[in-house]
């Protein structure tokens, strides 16, 4: 016992010495994390942080929860301009260009402690958004793809095979028609399918565009193809689901309340992030299935979610401590645990080889769908002025869905506006 303490102490001192701090003081890190305060995820993160601190008393991580991704990015940027940036943060993997333009972050692979082996242990699809100019700028953590959730009971009721979710766009539209339920007075009491259009509409459209064989941006992040014929076709299909087929409510479908809609049986299918899987699993009072998104020309979904970034203004000690923390957070057991607790995709193949994960997916194979979809996945839309471009895209989608503009008009407008901002980066 005594010996152990001593060994621990020595180890502790050695770590400190290797960090080059020279003092026996703990390294303080502030981490911004994109989650609303009070959600179950807050608790999961808090527990992980606490566990880390127990194992690494010399590093103290304080997590700050600031709302959704946009809110957190706003906060991080605002704090940086105000001279008090965090040392690390989980932000959209796609905010990379903006963060580079702001000279806010450092490449992870330049920080001592970030070895090649570790950097290569992640799913390549998740690393795509983080690698620019031959450097690795961010580490995947809270990552997802879009999946199709469907209500098996509703499928049965509508005379569909609950084990056969739609695999193509046409099938999805057809099945949705059968799933729509109306009450005596002709009002819809259950929709066939809902694709959310607030907040992350661009993400959904990107999925449709990918499936239709269209990439939305170039590698350099200064060129978008919003009004390419195939993108327009993708949006047209989406609009038609509501306007022509009558299987989706007209107008904007709220991202935030969609899950409740699904759980309350207001819609038989929904497109949503896999990050919702555990919450759906816990609250669903019916049998539900999870499937890959249906195909047009091909299957596909953009990856999504957040990566760890380390800020430039952090001291070398803090940067190294941050890497240590990130490494800890993404270790296979933790990644597995995290995935089980939330539904997000575990970021390394090794996580799926752990015992806990193997046992979990045995009983709940739905948890593998999002990962399996990775082979069809494409990097999420990521360009300079990301926040603005997302907004422009979301606005265009909403104006098409609400019928204010045709998909062609809306996307022409979005293309024009985006080019106005992106021309600065050519």
């Amino acid at each position: 016992m005594k010996f152990k303490t001593k060994a621990l102490l020595t180890a502790g001192f050695m770590t400190l010495a290797s960090l080059g701090a020279g003092t026996a003081q703990a390294v303080d890190l502030t981490m911004y994390y994109p989650v609303a305060v009070g959600g179950p995820v807050t608790k999961v993160i808090d527990d992980m942080v606490q566990q880390f601190h127990k194992e690494n008393p010399d590093i103290k991580v304080e997590s700050v929860y600031a709302g959704n991704y946009t809110d957190t990015m706003t906060k991080a940027m605002t704090a940086m301009k105000g001279g008090q940036p965090p040392q690390l943060s989980v932000l959209f993997s796609t905010d990379l260009f903006t963060l580079m333009d702001e000279k806010a972050i450092v490449p992870i692979d330049e920080i001592p402690g970030a070895d090649k082996e570790w950097l290569n242990s992640f799913y390549p699809a998740f690393m795509e958004n983080g690698r620019v100019e031959g450097k690795t700028w961010s580490i995947p953590f809270q990552r997802s793809t879009i999946v199709l959730y469907y209500n098996k009971d509703a499928f049965k009721e509508a005379g569909l095979d609950p084990e056969k979710p739609p695999t193509t766009w046409a099938e999805m539209a057809e099945m949705s028609k059968k799933l729509v339920k109306k009450d005596a007075s002709g009002n819809v009491s259950r929709w066939g399918v809902e694709i959310p259009s607030t907040g992350y509409g661009y993400w959904m459209l990107q999925a449709l565009a990918i499936e239709n064989g269209q990439k939305l941006m170039n590698e350099a992040g200064n060129q978008v193809s919003f009004n390419a014929p195939k993108t327009v076709e993708a949006l047209q299909y989406w609009v038609d689901l509501a306007a022509k087929e009558g299987v989706m409510p007209k107008g904007a479908v709220e991202w935030g309340t969609l899950r409740t809609d699904f759980l309350e049986g207001k819609t038989a299918m929904m497109w949503h992030t896999t990050g919702n899987l555990t919450a759906v699993k816990e609250a669903a009072k019916f049998n539900f299935g999870v499937a890959m998104l249906p195909a047009k020309e091909r299957r596909g979904s953009p990856t999504g979610g957040g990566n760890f970034y380390v800020f430039k203004s952090a001291s070398p000690e803090q940067q190294q401590a941050a890497v240590k923390f990130i490494k800890w957070m993404t270790a296979p057991e933790r990644a597995a645990d995290w995935s089980i607790k939330t539904g997000y995709v575990a970021v390394t193949p090794a996580a799926y080889e752990t015992e806990v994960m193997k046992n979990y997916v045995k009983d709940f194979p739905q948890a593998l769908v999002a990962r399996d979809q990775l082979e069809h996945a494409v990097a999420e839309l990521s360009v300079h002025e990301n926040g603005r471009i997302y907004k422009i895209m979301n606005d265009a989608i909403q104006s098409a869905l609400t019928g204010a503009q045709t998909p062609q008009e809306a996307l022409d407008g979005a293309q024009k506006q985006s080019e106005r901002f992106l021309s600065r980066y050519k």
Binding site: T78, N187, T198, E254, K266, N394, Q398, S399
Partner: protein, 305 residues
């Protein structure tokens, strides 16, 4: 003439006393002046300054003349939020004033349970807008929100109230009227209580109908109050954006966005402070315009008596 014969000593004493008064007064004002300069006057001037400069992401600033302004004039979203704001003002100001007047007249009367009425009308005023937005958000939720449930029970179909650009503005306006009317009621109530009761008695003796009295006596007497409230409500309609953060984020497709919310978005989400400054100049110009109208036309009579 008299001053000419005043002795030099006396005038010196007066001057010294003046000196002292000046110093005293300025010392008393110092904290207020410093704070006002730092958080009102300097920011206004520096907003104008920044609107003529570009601020690249790297952090260097250079003079660009009117470039930000042309950029603004070519910005569709700017025109939309401006239009939205005018519509929002037109929708909320007259309605809430009309309702406020009605409420005030009712509460001013000896009506059964008038203190309860006053309480009911005034309560929304003391609530935080952010809390109010939370409550109303659920009202408008499609499908199982209160409004849709009510409509469904009557056999109508539900509607995506906040998701439809043609209804979102009205929904927000209704909420704001609900919140503001009680506040304006108070001003009317105060004004009504200054109308001498003899007037009413006289009118009754003359046999004038209540409506006639209201139209010919009460309403004209309330005119200054109405103008005062209108100005305040107008200014308010350019300030009220809290609800957007919770309820719509300005959507769908900017249909509910207002100028100040757009400024917030541009400055803090898009980090484009130069453009945000340009938009702020527009907002300041609008508010200053309203203020000048007020001072020139309305306050002449009661100009700092």
């Amino acid at each position: 003439m008299v001053s000419a014969v005043m002795s030099a000593v006396e005038s010196k004493a007066i001057r010294r006393r003046n000196w002292q008064t000046n110093i005293n007064a300025w010392l008393l004002l110092l904290p207020a002046v410093v704070l006002l300069a730092a958080f009102t006057h300097y920011p206004i001037l520096s907003t104008i300054y920044h609107s003529f400069h570009s601020l690249s992401r790297g952090g260097t600033s250079e003079f660009v003349g009117l470039e930000n302004y042309t950029f603004m004039l070519e910005d569709d979203v700017f025109w939309q939020v401006l239009r939205n704001n005018i519509i929002f003002a037109l929708a909320t100001v007259p309605t809430s004033i009309g309702l406020a007047l009605l409420m005030a007249v009712w509460v001013d009367k000896k009506m059964a349970g008038r203190s309860f009425l006053r309480l009911a009308f005034f309560t929304p005023t003391v609530l935080p807008m952010i809390a109010v937005a939370n409550i109303w958000l659920f009202f408008y939720t499609p499908g199982y929100g209160l409004l849709d449930q009510f409509l469904k029970s009557l056999g109508f179909s539900g509607h995506n109230w906040l998701g439809d650009p043609s209804t979102v503005m009205s929904c927000l306006a209704v909420m704001v009227v609900w919140k503001e009317a009680g506040f304006f009621m108070i001003f009317y109530l105060a004004a009504l209580q200054t109308i001498p009761p003899e007037l009413k008695e006289a009118a009754q003796v003359e046999g004038a109908s209540r409506w006639y009295f209201f139209r010919r006596v009460t309403l004209p007497l309330l005119m200054p109050t109405t103008l005062f409230i209108s100005i305040n409500a107008l200014i308010n309609s350019f300030k009220l954006v809290d609800q957007l953060v919770i309820m719509t984020k300005g959507g769908p497709n900017n249909a509910s966005s207002l100028l100040l919310y757009y400024i917030y978005e541009v400055a803090f989400t898009f980090q484009d402070t130069a453009f945000a400054a340009t938009l702020t100049v527009t907002l300041i110009a609008i508010l200053a315009g309203v203020a000048l109208t007020k001072f020139v036309y309305l306050d002449r009579r009661i100009h700092y008596q």
